[in-house]
């Protein structure tokens, strides 16, 4: 038998680790955010030596920037749709895979696979699947479901749907694993007692499973939303924000403002807006879901 040494209160080693962690956090998170906030008040242009303080001009400009409002609308719609779809699918898959046999454990690994793959690789694979002469259209036309290939990536609405489909596919791996972990933490005795009381499968799900996975759902929904609000890689490869900017997320728009239009100051202001929107949404949703956990 081994004994574990617990860190003592006031342990210098613990302090050093905390200092290192906080230092790295400050260096890579806090300082860049402060720098970005400062840049958002300037007209910084990477090509020009001088930068001027412009106050809130960039923020004022945002109020009548139609490209920004289009990208923000698309981002918010995508976030809502994909978060709901990925979490609903995640709960479903988790219930299906909540078994202990080897084959189910292998299937869990497969379910998590999209999450461990790079977004760039995933998008490249899906680009081939969704191409005009891609696998999906091959299947649809050869089985007679459609007469001719569907332009998944070439019409604005279908391109938006395709981006959502791919993002949901990636996120479902994550939501499945989170919900699976939540399911496995539910004591079996609760189901046994419910069975004794004559509860059917639906009642067991409603009164035991759904309330007990609530903490997992809170984490899963919040992280899904944050992931979607800053989505860049999948869209950059799949559609490059097109056609005609229809799938341009706010993250893509920030990069365009900075490195195509040479407007670091304005791009920083948009980034601050996205940060604020993400924070408000994440905190609101977390608060709501936490309250639900308590109510349940």
């Amino acid at each position: 038998m081994t004994t574990r040494a617990h860190p003592r209160r006031g342990d210098p080693a613990l302090g050093a680790i905390a200092v290192l962690t906080l230092g790295l956090y400050a260096l890579f998170i806090v300082v860049p955010v402060i720098m970005s906030a400062w840049k958002s008040l300037t007209d910084e242009n990477p090509l020009k030596p001088q930068t001027h303080f412009v106050g809130f001009d960039n923020y004022t400009e945002m109020t009548h920037d139609s490209a920004l409002s289009d990208s923000l609308t698309f981002t918010l719609l995508l976030t809502a749709a994909v978060t709901i779809a990925a979490n609903a699918a995640g709960i479903g898959f988790a219930i299906l895979l909540n078994k202990t046999s080897l084959s189910y454990r292998m299937m869990r690994t497969v379910a998590f696979l999209p999450q461990v793959l790079s977004g760039v690789i995933v998008a490249f694979v899906w680009r081939y699947i969704l191409a005009q002469d891609g696998i999906l259209n091959d299947i649809l036309t050869t089985t007679g479901i459609t007469d001719k290939p569907i332009t998944w990536l070439g019409t604005p609405h279908l391109a938006m749907f395709s981006v959502g489909l791919v993002a949901a596919w990636v996120l479902t791996g994550f939501t499945t694993v989170v919900h699976l972990a939540a399911l496995q933490s539910i004591p079996v005795e609760l189901y046994q007692a419910a069975k004794v009381d004559g509860a059917g499968r639906r009642q067991q799900f409603r009164h035991i499973t759904f309330p007990m996975v609530a903490p997992g759902t809170t984490i899963s929904v919040t992280i899904s939303m944050i992931t979607m609000l800053k989505l860049y890689d999948i869209i950059a490869v799949l559609t490059s924000g097109g056609p005609a900017d229809s799938t341009q997320s706010t993250a893509l728009y920030i990069i365009k403002c900075a490195f195509t239009d040479n407007r670091f100051g304005y791009a920083s202001a948009v980034a601050m807006l996205l940060l604020a929107v993400s924070a408000v949404i994440a905190l609101s949703v977390t608060g709501l879901l936490r309250r639900r956990e308590v109510d349940l």
Binding site: G154, A244, D245
Partner: protein, 424 residues
Amino acid sequence: MRPTPLIAACVAAGLTLLTGCSAATNDGGKGGSDLTYLTFETPNLNAQFWDTSITEAQKQAPGVSVKKIVTPGTDRDAYAKQLLASGQFPDLLQSITPSTFAQNGLLKPYDKNWVNANFLMPMGNAYKGEVYIPPTNSQVIPEVFYNKKLFAQAGITAPPRTWSEFMAVCAKLKAAGITPIELGGGDPFSASMPLVGILSADVLGKNPNWLQDRYAGKTRFTDANVEAAATKYRTMVKEGYFQDGALGVKYADSITNFTSGKTAMYMMGNWFLGSVPKDHADDFGAFLTPTDDGSLVVPFAVGGSMAISAKTADPAKATAFAQAWSTNPANLKTLIEGDGAFPMLKNKTLADYNVNVTQVYKDSYTYVTDQNTKVSAFGWATNDDAMPSGLNDAFYSASQALFTSDDVHGQLAKLDAAWDKATK
């Protein structure tokens, strides 16, 4: 456990990070004659091409050591800006848009005597009277490439000369069950090619100074003549002259579709000439975007090799390397055969480059060598007719939008707004 090693590690890590941060300066240059050179790779201009060409130029410019930096994508300008922002602006930059950087004093102009002595059109890509990129080669953007067999199959005996003949050819092909025009609309630059051709022919053909007039506020995209030109493109879409789902077709796939005979015509820059299948090259021909009255307008752009950073630590060595690279015919050979580039070195014929080119390449080259009406290819020129930084993206986006929207005026108004914003 003693805390000292941990604290020491924290301090070391902190110092390392700070050192890493402070090393990034905006001076652009490196000490001595170690030069950084921004390049890009394509299937034809691959790593081996760049490595060989660098080695050869180094032999001509002794004492120069060049470190190659490869752009992660094809957008050299955007990556150069990222490098600039992080204090790593290269000493030499291949095929960037000089106006974007030169107007902010970031590039060093070439000696005009050297340019005059070596190139056919010394001021072909000059920006405000200075040459920032040696004008080594030129391009016609776009040409209308066509499949002779499919034309014959539809009973078309000659390529069209006027716009109405062009529309008649499209209608005839469509009636014969052949898709008239290939469009790789999935890649924004490729989607814009028909509009580049029409605007160059109709707008710049009538007023070659239109882009400079736009800078001066004398012209606008919403002017009636521009709207009429853009409406021609919209008409082509509505008549179904492009393939189904064209906006979902990637550029690379559009090349394959056209060369494999799935479509009859393809509006693309002359770099497509490098992709013409050698085994049946004679099946392909080329003409220029027809005008209403049949007059020939060549949408032309003088490209070139590398720009030199104004802040390079060793301008003399950087210039020596750039000049050696730019005048090496072996580099042009690769560009001619692989990218269909039209060489612009003085006192040289095609034979001097020892190249193996197709007949359609030779025919296309005559657009460059003949006396004719050359105008800047809309959105592709790198001289005083270059569009403001960022406008190309707006132009590509409008081209895609016009594929699905009837609002020609609205899209052109957006371009005006983007132009005004970019030049503010």
